[in-house]
Structure formats: structure tokens, C-alpha cells
Symmetry: C2
Subunit: 657 residues, 2 copies
């Protein structure tokens, strides 16, 4: 139960669930696109490519393992100078593309969060992974990882495996995320899995909370946590933000900030870290009207979508327009569709290959019971398809949870121009009868009864009148209970209302910035032979928007005149706010190009004459001649997206080196 | 001792020391500019002004007390939409002004930090405040706060106080930061100070570490802390960054990020918080050459400086050029002077009043023994002079500390063009004799001996030869010890060297972003009467660079044509990347102006005609007429600082409303 809860729950914090293998609980059909195991050769190729990328990233200080001189700290990375610059650029574009474009309300809340907030959100109770300990050394392991490694290893390396055993292990892999704590424990025992490092026996699995805990203030009596996501900071401020927006819906709030997850044993290098940057949007909307005024701006975009039906039936992801996806009901509503489109535009403008980007819908068993619909932007990398952005319609869950816990109503109002006569559903519960029947489960049953919508309530009323009892599926208990006639009465009353009071739905696009950056690096990386063909040179094909440094300045030889011109050009670049790198070493020009190509610098200016200079484009290696006094503004045009290199080729004479 | 250490130590993390009253230990002369007590009326005026600013800031959601619906959490604030936008603008300008302009290497390191790093930096042992506990309830108080409150209260409110007693209390206030833990305890007992809330007796004072502690990984055996500053992340990466910079000095690294301080009892609202944003620069430089190539660009700047001599002699801060300050030796070196100038330009361009900005030099007792010189940019606010930026020459302390702890050399190299014959100082210690003489203090004495420079060593050599013994001031023990001839030998040897190996000095400008923002709000705030004179309206006079929203768009009446034009203008503003606020309510135009003036929006566009619109400037309330199609680019010019309002007045016809 615990695992299922955590996983269903983990919809809230994305970038946690393991989606490498998934399956629907009902059909047990493994998803076809993932069914075919990668051939060993392909997997080796993929591994080699990743090594090439990661080596370049670490050698050029895009990333540095944190606290390296002290031996490092698993799950923590620093962004070195070019990595930090790329991150700053991506976040600036995110602000431009989302916050500015939609007039969102950006906020900035603390990382340290008191327990009550994360109790309300469910993180204190449910934000866990199952852990086992080496019974002798106390070393900790993620229980599901051990089973996964065991099954994969057997399937790949044991030639004597019976067909029956093969099927069993494949099935375990497929349903791993759905197994209960007892089932996980039983598998570990059955397969005789021991601690990988010592071969000692393992403890029974138990849930480990993934939040970093701390203590706020000097008394030691006020527990707090490092936030596992930024969203809660927005929810607790809903009332003020709604007021700030003139008490009008819809509106969106946004936040960029650090989040923290004390993973049991981080794997997958840069993809699974213990401290991460999230950029989250909470778009609050009337649950009765999820249309979006700007939907038409994205409706014709065609992108790879992977709806749940296709996953279940083993069909691959296919291209479909957002307009069609919404009109056919594949995507639940226009606002959700609008954000899917905006996320697509954001990622592809950064340089993510649109052929290796898909939007995958959550399956029934992945989705929390309250969620209306949920799509992940997944990017294909050497690790497989990586969840980088979650776009979820979370209905009223979060606001309701904080309103319940704090006692402060987090609602919106729709004022009627004149009072309306309404029929209101009245559910009166007999708490005594419910208590007698359900004891410890009473609270959950009561909540489920109170959560019934009009249709459900009327069906129950009719059933109770006809049969004397009715079934009720209590999602929070994950079981069906029997409701008897004496436990409640359901009726409709007529009332005059001046306004409608409701809890808004929230549509949440949530971006894992570190994961997007890593995938972007893989999609931007390529190698090409050096001029004399004796080595492979690395290039990142970043668009100017993303490039950590926009331009390099090289005096072709060490010479005072040329260095003065280089200095003059540098000053104009700074005045325009353009980052550059100047290299006045006597190194060959080819080597200097190679060094900057490896940082993804789009343009290089070689000072080889007093009056004009050579400007070279990174990927085509084409060159043009531009006057010294003009060159900074030419770089500015390209950097700001006003002109492309093709435009420049038309305007300036070609230069062959 | 503990207090002195902590305070001397607190030079590392700025924004902690209490500088409201300070004094030199040697002279006991209270600093004159602070000597005159504010009259009660002035203090009330100041309090009223602060209330007006803070009310506006909270009502318009510049700030929101964090987790407000749960009753808030002392020492934590959210930035609401306009506050967050101002912060984003200030940080973007910081990047432009420092990182881009100086080609600094920006990095981004985690908040969670393992113990070993903060052990090396000294934070685990010394980052403390003295705390006392209510012996019955366990409530915690900062010991120095209680004494301060007691003294101030007596001085202000007790008319029967003898002249002698007055002098005593004033003296205690003046030396509070220098008192030892025992002296603090004795004062509390002597004055009969009890717990403010209950009047219960208090425990003896003891040091409380101000870092938030946590545990990294699942085992519970790896303690970590939330970083109290961002600087350590740069120091531990020195080796890689030096390599990235082509093994050349000087270079600077920079970092913007969250820092955390678990204050015992945060006061002063927005100025003393438990989670803060710092922007820090570590400029690494050859200790033998602290000149700066761009010094001439700032040397003629005249600004208020408050050198230690002036503080001691009771002279006020005075205007002096940076060039003069460096040439007279008031500021230790050119690089330090250069950064003081750059900080001055940064703050004044944000809108800090240069008449209420001063650079105050640390006194001898404020400064750590290793620091060469230290200046704080202090901004005058309703709370008095607030330390907002620290600019310190910390010599080689930090790199040396991490090199010692990690065993990884953190050094720079100067390659000689040809080998040099050098005389090298050789100090050979007799550890046995030293151990016998100094026992537990041996380590500190040895370090002090090894740290002697050539001059000090030669003086010691001569003294030992003549007298048989010599005095040595061991700063880390804060006492003078006697060194005997048999404890060491000092000689000079000739060697051939191919390069010089040295630990760079670091010059550190460190910015408390939250404090700068708060002072900026106070310096930007004013009130003026409404048109009919019946109320006072609030205005923030933010420069366009800082303003949270650059421009407002108002259709003068609710009318489809006007709203369409407003929409068209909004779209062009978005295309230019300019944040705006559109208000299509039927509220009077005066009210709408007042609302946006209170957010500091510099320009408003009123749509009152089909072809042209009225553009109004916030502070002068002057208006011009501009064609609809031109207006967005006019706003862009002003926002980007290309044109001023005065320029526009010359180009566009004046409009009287």
C-alpha cells in the first residue's frame, strides 16, 4: 500500500518516479515502446556517447562534483562558469517566455519550511522511498533498486533461465512501482538478495522520508524541512495573490528556486540529485471553465503525444495537433493544452530536438485520485526517456488541503449580476452510525461522502432508497465500503445566492531545470574531425539564446595593434551587455576555435587587420568580413535573435580563410 | 574570549555584527556620529516613516510574512510579485555590473554543505551567538540583546540614575561586543536581568551555533549544514577555476544564492532574517601586486568614507576621492579601492541616496587578525546605519584553511622567464621543546612561528641571539608568549627557483541583497497630497532599471475601441520584453495613477484617443503625447536607459490633462 500511495503521491513532486518501465495495473500489458530491450551494442553506444558528453562537461567545468577537494558528496553538483551561464540564460528565457508573456505573479519563498505546511501537503507522511539496511554495517539501499538490479542482471546474464522464470522477472520489473512494502520484502527474501557491497543480509524494507530535516530557532522544538518543491509557497499565498490580481480568475503564479530531496542512493549522475532547481507555475482557474483565451495561438502546433490508450495498446507516440488532442478529449481541457504547447515551444527554442521530445500522459495507476489529467514532457537521452516537465491538472487538491489544515478559506468568488435561485445538495451525515461502522476509517469515509458531486450523490440516494445500502469507493483507503441508509440523508434544497464560492482548480507546469539542461547538453553535442583529421573535436551547437558566452575575440597573432583593437571590440561588447571571451595567447587560431566550439560559443571574431575583422560561425565554420566599428552590433543582432547568420551572409562579404 | 573570537570571526559572514554602537577597545572613545542620542521626537518620526514604508510594502505584497496562513514563522519573508520583480532586476543588474563587466567566473553551488567544509572555514566552531534560557519555560534569548535592552531602558527611562551609573551603563553598551561569556553572565546577574516574558531567572549564557543543521543521506551519520554564506563554494573550487582562467591571476569568481542563519531571536523585521540572498565576489590576486588595471576608472569618484582614525577621533565621515584614499594609505590597496568604487556605482545607480551612503572601515577590534583591511558600505535607514555590503581583503586565510584541511594545495604559480637565485628563510622548530613549554597551546604557537614573514623572523633571530628569548604575539591565543633560543633556529639559504608558488590573497565584496532592497525602498519612498488634497499618496521613485513593472496601460474609459488599442500596445510591450500592468476597470484615472505610483511604475500610458496616447511620468506627473505605434519603443528607450524623460520632453508634444 505504502508504495502505491507514495507513487500516486509522487505526482505532486515530479522528477521522482521511475518511468523506465511502466504498466497498467488492470491489463498488465507492458508498454510496447519500452518492451523491446535495447541491444547490447546500442546500449554500449549510448554509454560511450554519454561518457563523451559528460567528460566534456566536467573538463570544461559546466559541472563540478561539489566539494571535490574533500572527496565530493554524492548527489550534489556545482555549476561551473559555463554551466552557470547556461542556467542563468535558460532561467531568463523561462521568465520571458512564461512570466512576462502571461503576466504571471512571480514570488520567491524560503527553502526552510515549517512542518505544518508539509504535513498539510502530505509530504511528511507520504514523501518516502522504501529502504533496506545492511544488517551488519548499516549501509542503506533503495529496496526497489536492488530488486530491479537483480532482475535485470538475471535476465541479461543468466543463459540457463527458464522461460517461466524469465516471465516472472519481467513481470516484477513491470509492476515494481506497484508492489506493497510486504511484497517488496518478500521478493528480497525469495531471491536471496543481499547487500551489494558486503553480501550481508538485509533488513526488512521500511519507508524513509526523503526530506532533509532541520530545526528552526534555538529551542529545538520547532521541526522544519527543506522544501521538496517550490509549489507549496504559492499555495499558502493564494489568498493574497488572488487579492493582488483584483480578485479575478484565472491567474498564474510562478516561482524559481531550490528544492531538496535526500535520495537514499542517487544514481544517474546529473539526473538524480539531492538539491535541484525547480521552476514551477500554478495556474488557478475556475473548475467550470478551463478554456484559455490564447488557446488558438498553440492549437495548430503538432507534436509527439503519447496518450494512455496508445501506451496500453502498445502503439508508439504519434504527432498530433494540440487543437485535435483537446477537441477529441485526449487532453482534458484547453488550459492544459495551452501549457503543453507553451512547454513545447520553450523546450524546442532552447535547442531540444523536437523529434526526441514527447508528451506522455500518466496512466491511471500513476495518477493521484484527485488529478484530472497529467502529461509529462519527456526528453530522450542516453538514459532513455527522461521526465523533464510535468503538466498536471491537480483540481482543487492543494488549496483544499491547506484550507483544511490552516482553517483559512482559500476560495474564489463569482459575483452574480442578480441573485440566483439554486438547488443545493445537502448531505447530512450521522457521525455516530458512521463511527460505529468504520471506526478508524471513519474520517476517510466521511471525506469521500462529502466529496461526492451531485451526480454521485443522487445515484447513492436512489440506490439507498431502493436497496437500503450502496457501495462507495474510498480512494484514500483504496477499498470499497458499504454505506447503509441510516448513515446519512441526501436532499436538495432551494436557496437564493448572490455569488458562487468555489475552490479553484490548479494547473501546474513544473520544470526540472537541471534535467532540461542535461538533456539540452546531450542534444547539442556533436563531434567532427579536426582539420588535419587526426582527432575528433567536440562542439555544442547551442542557439545564441542559450550559449554561455556569445562571442570570442582573438587577435590572430600577438601584436600590440591587434590587441588594442581586440580590447576596443571587447569594450563595445560589454557596453551592449554581451558576454565574450578574449584569448590573446599565441595558440594557433584553429586550437582557439576548437576551445570555444567546445564551450558552444556561436561566433568568433578574429582580429587579422586594422580596419575589418573576420567573424566565424561555429557550426558552418563560414566566415564573413565586418568593419571593426560594426562588429559588436552585428554580434548583438544575432545574440538577441534580430538577425540570423543567414541574414548576415547576405549582408557581408564572404571570407575564405 | 568566545565573544571576541566570534565577532572577529564574523568578518567572514557579514550582516551579522551589531554595529549600532561601537568603540575601539584601546581608547574607549564612542564614535561621535553615534554619540549624540537621537531625540525622542526624531526617533518617533523615524519610526512613523518606517511604519508608512513597511505598511505599503506589505499591503502591495512587496513582502509577505512567510507561511502567513499558519501564523507565520519569525525571520522568514516571501517576496511577493513586485518585491520579487525588484529583486530579479537588482540581481540582473548585479550580473551586468560585476560579472559581465569584469569577466568574472560565476558559479552556483549547493546550499547543503558537509561538515568538513564548515569545520575548515571555522563556522562549526565559531559561528555562534551567546544564548540564555528561561530556566522554567526554556524560552531562548540572545544574551547581548537583554543587556542592551536593560541599559537602554535604564538610560532612557530612569530619571534617578546617578551620573556614575549612567557612565557605567553607557560604557557597557559601548563594549558589549567585546565582553567575554563570563563577563556577559556576570552583568546579567549583577543587573538582575530576568526573562522578558515571564520574569523567571535565566541560565548562564552559552554559545549557540547559528547554522541550521541537517543530515545528508539516509544513514544519519553524515552531518551537514545549510551554508551560512556562499563564499566557501568558491574557495573549494579555486584550483579548477584557476585552471579555467588559464592559470592566470588575478581573476574573480562570483556567486548569487541563498544563505541561512538560525538567529536566536530575529529582530529588525526585514533586516535580520533567517534565510537571505547573498551575492558574493572572491577576487583572487597576487599578494605582492594588488594594483588594478582599471583603477583609474574609479579613482576620481568622491564618496563618503569613514576611516578608523576618524571614528576613533570622533570626526564625522567625509567626502574623499578613492584615488586619494589609496594614495594616502587610508585604503590598503588599489584592488580594494577599485571594488569600493564599483560598489558605490552599483548602489547609487539602483537609487540609493549617495548622501546616505558611507564606507566605514573596520576598527582593529572588529577585524580578524588575518584581514589586511575591511570596509563596509553602510546605508542610513530608519534603523540607523545598516551594513549592506562588506568589502574585505581577507589575505590568504580561506584558501590556506581549505588547503590545510583537505590536503589539496590551493596555490598559484608565477613562472620565471629564467631561474632565479633566491635567499629563502628557513625556520626549523624543535617541537619537543615547544611541546614542553606550551602544551595545549603548542599548535597555535607553531602556526604563529611558521606564519612569520621575513622581517619578523629576522627581528626574532636578532633578539634571540642578543637576549636568549623573544616575545611573540599569538593572535589565535590572543596573548603574548615567550620564545626561547633552544626552541628554534632561523637561517637563510640560497636556492635556485624556476617559479614562485604562493597562496593568492582574496578580496571579497559581499552583498546582502535583502538589506540593499530594504534600504532602497526607504530611500525611494515619499508621499504627496492627492489632487483634492484630502489624502497622502505613496510613491516609490524607483529608476526604470529597478521598477518592478515598467509601465501601466489604462484605457481612459471602458470602451471596446480603447481596450483593443490597449491590447495592441500590451502586445508590443511584451514583444520588447517590457513588463506592464493593464487596468481596464472603470476606476477613475487618478486612482489608477495612484495605485501604480505606489508600485513605483515609472510610466503610464493612457489610451484616450484612437491614434495617439498620453504618456505620464510618475514623479513629475508631466505628460506627453505619442503615436500608438511608437509608444512601446518609447517605453523601451526609457527602460533600457537609452533616453531619459527629459529627452522625451524635447521630442514629444507636452500634454496637459
Amino acid at each position: 500500500m505504502e508504495v502505491l500511495k507514495r507513487r500516486a503521491f509522487s505526482l505532486r513532486p515530479p522528477f521522482l518516479g521511475s518511468h523506465a518501465v511502466f504498466v497498467t495495473a488492470k491489463t498488465n500489458v507492458t508498454v510496447s515502446s519500452l518492451q523491446t530491450p535495447c541491444s547490447v551494442i546500442e546500449s554500449q553506444k549510448s554509454e560511450a556517447f554519454r561518457q563523451a558528453v559528460v567528460n566534456t562537461l566536467e573538463r570544461r567545468l559546466f559541472y563540478i562534483p561539489s566539494f571535490k577537494i574533500y572527496g565530493g558528496l554524492t548527489g550534489f553538483y556545482d555549476y561551473g562558469p559555463p554551466g552557470c551561464a547556461v542556467k542563468v540564460n535558460v532561467l531568463a528565457f523561462w521568465r520571458q517566455h512564461f512570466v512576462l508573456e502571461e503576466n504571471m505573479l512571480e514570488v520567491d519563498c524560503p527553502c526552510v519550511t515549517p512542518e505544518v505546511v508539509l504535513k498539510a501537503s502530505g509530504h511528511v507522511d507520504k514523501f518516502t522511498d522504501l529502504m533496506v539496511k545492511d544488517e551488519k554495517t548499516g549501509a542503506c539501499y533503495r529496496a526497489d533498486h536492488l530488486i530491479k538490479d537483480y532482475c535485470k542482471d538475471k535476465l541479461e546474464k543468466d543463459p540457463n533461465l527458464s522461460a517461466e522464470k524469465k516471465a516472472e522477472l519481467s513481470r516484477v520489473l513491470a509492476v515494481l512501482d506497484d508492489l506493497s512494502v510486504d511484497e517488496i520484502g518478500a521478493r528480497i527474501k525469495k531471491y536471496g538478495i543481499t547487500a551489494p557491497d558486503t553480501k550481508n543480509t538485509l533488513s526488512d524494507p521500511y519507508p524513509f522520508n526523503l526530506m532533509f530535516q532541520t530545526s528552526i530557532g534555538p529551542s529545538g522544538s520547532n521541526p522544519g524541512y527543506l522544501r521538496p518543491e517550490t509549489a507549496q509557497g504559492i499555495f499558502v499565498n493564494f489568498k493574497d495573490l488572488y487579492y493582488y490580481n483584483g480578485n479575478k480568475l484565472p491567474f498564474a503564479a510562478a516561482q524559481i528556486g531550490q528544492a531538496f530531496r535526500n535520495e537514499i542512493s542517487p544514481r544517474q549522475g546529473l539526473l538524480r540529485v539531492r538539491e535541484l532547481t525547480l521552476a514551477e507555475i500554478e495556474h488557478f482557474v475556475d473548475p467550470d471553465d478551463k478554456s484559455h483565451p490564447k488557446f488558438s495561438e498553440v492549437s495548430e502546433l503538432e507534436l509527439f503525444m503519447f496518450p494512455k490508450e496508445d501506451q496500453i495498446c502498445g502503439r508508439p507516440a504519434s504527432k498530433i495537433s494540440i487543437g485535435e488532442a483537446v477537441s477529441k478529449g485526449i487532453v482534458n481541457n484547453e488550459t492544459l493544452g495551452y501549457f503543453i504547447g507553451r512547454v513545447y515551444l520553450f523546450l524546442t527554442q532552447l535547442g531540444i530536438d523536437e523529434g526526441r521530445l514527447r508528451f506522455r500522459q500518466h496512466l491511471g495507476n500513476e495518477m493521484a485520485h484527485y488529478a484530472a489529467d497529467c502529461w509529462d514532457a519527456e526528453i530522450e537521452s542516453s538514459y532513455g526517456w527522461i521526465e523533464c516537465v510535468g503538466v498536471a491538472d491537480r483540481s482543487a487538491f492543494d488549496l483544499q488541503a491547506h484550507a483544511d489544515k490552516s482553517g483559512v478559506p482559500l476560495v474564489a468568488y463569482e459575483k452574480f449580476t442578480e441573485p440566483r435561485q439554486v438547488e443545493k445538495l445537502v448531505i447530512t451525515l450521522d457521525k455516530r452510525e458512521l463511527g460505529l461502522a468504520f471506526k478508524g476509517d471513519q474520517k476517510m469515509v466521511v471525506e469521500a461522502l462529502e466529496d461526492m458531486d451531485e451526480k454521485e450523490a443522487m445515484i447513492m440516494k436512489v440506490t439507498l432508497e431502493a436497496m437500503g445500502e450502496a457501495d462507495l469507493h474510498v480512494f484514500t483507503l483504496d477499498k470499497v465500503v458499504t454505506i447503509k441508509k441510516n448513515m446519512l440523508s441526501i436532499s436538495k434544497e432551494k436557496k437564493k445566492e448572490h455569488q458562487r464560492v468555489f475552490t479553484p482548480s490548479v494547473i501546474e507546469p513544473s520544470f526540472g531545470i537541471g534535467r532540461i539542461l542535461y538533456c539540452l547538453y546531450e542534444h547539442s553535442f556533436y563531434t567532427r574531425p579536426s582539420k588535419d583529421g587526426d582527432e575528433q573535436l567536440n562542439v555544442f551547437r547551442f542557439p545564441p539564446l542559450v550559449a554561455p558566452i556569445k562571442c570570442a575575440v582573438f587577435p590572430i597573432v600577438q601584436n600590440q595593434h591587434y590587441e588594442e583593437i581586440a580590447e576596443r571590440i571587447s569594450k563595445s561588447l560589454t557596453a551592449f551587455g554581451i558576454s565574450y571571451k578574449i584569448d590573446i595567447t599565441g595558440t594557433s587560431i584553429g586550437k582557439r576555435y576548437a576551445r570555444t566550439d567546445e564551450l558552444g560559443v556561436p561566433l568568433s571574431i578574429t582580429v587579422d587587420c586594422i580596419s575589418s575583422v573576420t567573424v566565424r560561425e561555429r557550426d558552418s565554420k563560414q566566415q564573413i568580413r565586418v568593419y571593426v566599428d560594426e562588429v559588436a552590433s552585428v554580434v548583438k543582432e544575432v545574440t538577441e535573435g534580430v538577425s540570423t547568420w543567414t541574414d548576415l551572409l547576405r549582408r557581408y562579404p564572404n571570407h575564405s580563410s
